[in-house]
Symmetry: C2
Subunit: 332 residues, 2 copies
């Protein structure tokens, strides 16, 4: 049985092994992805981002529990992919996998995986996309993609998701609030976690003010990235979703049921408006571009002898050529 | 007179205009960069990074003032390039240029420029490198490159610098400290700003513990990026620099003179050890790679009709091809 087949058969050992292959971008991993790809496209991808200190990890934990024990309907299978682009060298220590395990361990309907930065952010977004595909093909209904921080890397990763949660918390300081003006623009749902702390009204008020800032429609279309520069047919409907602000206390679970309801409402909205398909398309387009870029660079490097490359760097160091001139000389 | 010539002649209007061209990656900007490049390689590039709330901007302000009014020797010409990768859409608002201006305005020996994220992080690091070259050619002795945050983007930008300062502050919480374990590895000098606040000993203690963590030599070589996988001749000396921890209070200026002395000691160390040249080389190599990659992608895109691209995306959406298969089909 191939690795892909064992994933389709629901074997968690095969799943773990394939995720490692995919994270390492191995040839076996790529072959398995080709085999699995026709089985993807069903899962709800949910991005969760926000600054350190907002309690994202605990919240993701609670959301997963809520999907497992819904008040109505069947429990859904949940995968958690915790991505840490903040720690390029020693990454991984931040993600409290052990803490999560206390509540979720032993439940075969939950699979948790953390990934630290390897190489460039482009590579990280690519690996995240590929790992989400594996979970999707393996039949997980919900894939929670958690990222630490609020930079460009998180935005790239959030672009993968159907629904993006931006998590805030009271009392993180004004400067932090200001910085998030950018990340707010990718939010489908705003969460004020630690809502039992003083200052929750102030934080919520600041968020409301930011939501009332200019360009609601532009905001929506930016979410789709470069792939969506003009409104598609039915694009008008996209401006109808106003990101709700949900208060939660992850430590006690308060507000998490309502948050999951909001997530489900957003999924419903996406499907009804046609946005689900548009986001899917934009995501696949970005992924294709990334793969094309990577392959182009690899082919180029294998065609240029190292000595030729070193010679150009030498001439740069001596200021005989500018970087632009050297690039043109190498590309011929 | 060309834009490049007016920059070499020290005209600040020409400088401002060229910086805009370079930031926008215009053809005129590229031509001017080619013309200016032989005049670069003299400035001391200093990266300043750290989490929001550490008071980086005020500190950069103070460092600039100190270079302008040294206790001994001549004042140095200072350029400040404030880069904000945290705010991909509304970027720029965070950078308190107006605050800086109070102390530094009217001094022709200081030039301050802020830049918000445009497009990808790769593009941002590239634009930062190019703008630093413009300042270098324009005769600025010191170029302070300030970045907000502590993610991969900041690391990419820090790689441009000869000397990297990582700024901390007491009381930012344990989670934030942990995240910085990664960014610490690129630090040449550690700064505990806001050193008049309670908890300064604890922050300094945490930093000392982190510095005593494994692999001091590996740390140094990682700093050089992929370009330096093996120690070069004289590479042994590289492990002799132990990042000092400097306490400052940017609001009052306390400790800033000592910090600038440490910066100068680091520059001296880099020159004596040969590391200055090695960092320069690694930096130019990274820049060349980025330009080659960008050009490859541009050429590819102009050779493939949009209809062919759209057709591939369509087949992806229908799950007829996997992303890898589509990329291979496009690349032929």
């Amino acid at each position: 049985m191939s690795l892909a087949q064992s994933v389709l058969a629901g074997e968690s050992l095969g799943l773990a092994r394939l995720l490692t292959q995919v994270e390492n971008d191995s040839p076996e991993g790529r072959l398995a992805l080709n085999e699995l790809f026709p089985h993807t496209g069903k899962a709800h991808l949910i991005g969760v981002t926000g600054a350190p200190g907002t309690g994202k990890s605990s919240l993701v934990n609670r959301i997963a529990l809520q999907f497992r024990k819904p008040p109505m309907g069947n429990p859904r299978r949940v995968a958690v992919l915790a991505v840490d682009p903040s720690s390029p060298f020693t990454g991984g220590a931040v993600l409290g996998d052990r803490v999560r395990m206390r509540d979720l361990s032993g439940d075969p309907g939950v699979f948790i995986r953390s990934m630290a930065t390897r190489g460039s952010l482009g590579g990280l977004a690519q690996a995240t996309a590929a790992m989400a595909q594996v979970f999707d093909a393996a039949g997980f209904d919900v894939i929670l993609i958690e990222t630490v921080g609020a930079g460009q890397g998180e935005v790239d990763i959030a672009r993968l998701a159907h629904t993006t949660l931006v998590v805030e918390a009271p009392g993180l300081g004004d400067e932090i609030q200001a910085i998030k003006a950018g990340i707010l623009e990718i939010a489908d749902i705003l969460v004020v976690n630690k809502a039992d702390l003083p200052g929750v009204e102030r934080t919520e008020g600041a968020l409301k003010n930011m939501l009332n800032l200019p360009h609601p429609v532009e905001r929506i279309f930016l979410h789709h990235g470069q792939a969506m520069t003009a409104p598609a047919a039915g694009g008008e409907a996209a401006s109808l979703w106003v990101p709700p602000i949900q208060r939660t206390v992850a430590t006690s679970g308060t507000g998490v049921a309502e948050l999951v309801e909001a997530i489900d409402r957003h999924a419903q909205y996406l499907r009804q408006s046609g946005d689900w398909g548009r986001r899917e398309r934009a995501r696949l387009e970005v992924e294709l571009e990334t793969l094309v870029r990577q392959t182009l660079v690899k082919r180029f490097r294998s065609n240029i002898p190292d000595t030729r490359y070193d010679e150009m760097v030498e001439r740069l160091v001596r200021r005989e050529l500018s970087p632009w001139e050297a690039a043109e000389a190498l590309l011929g």
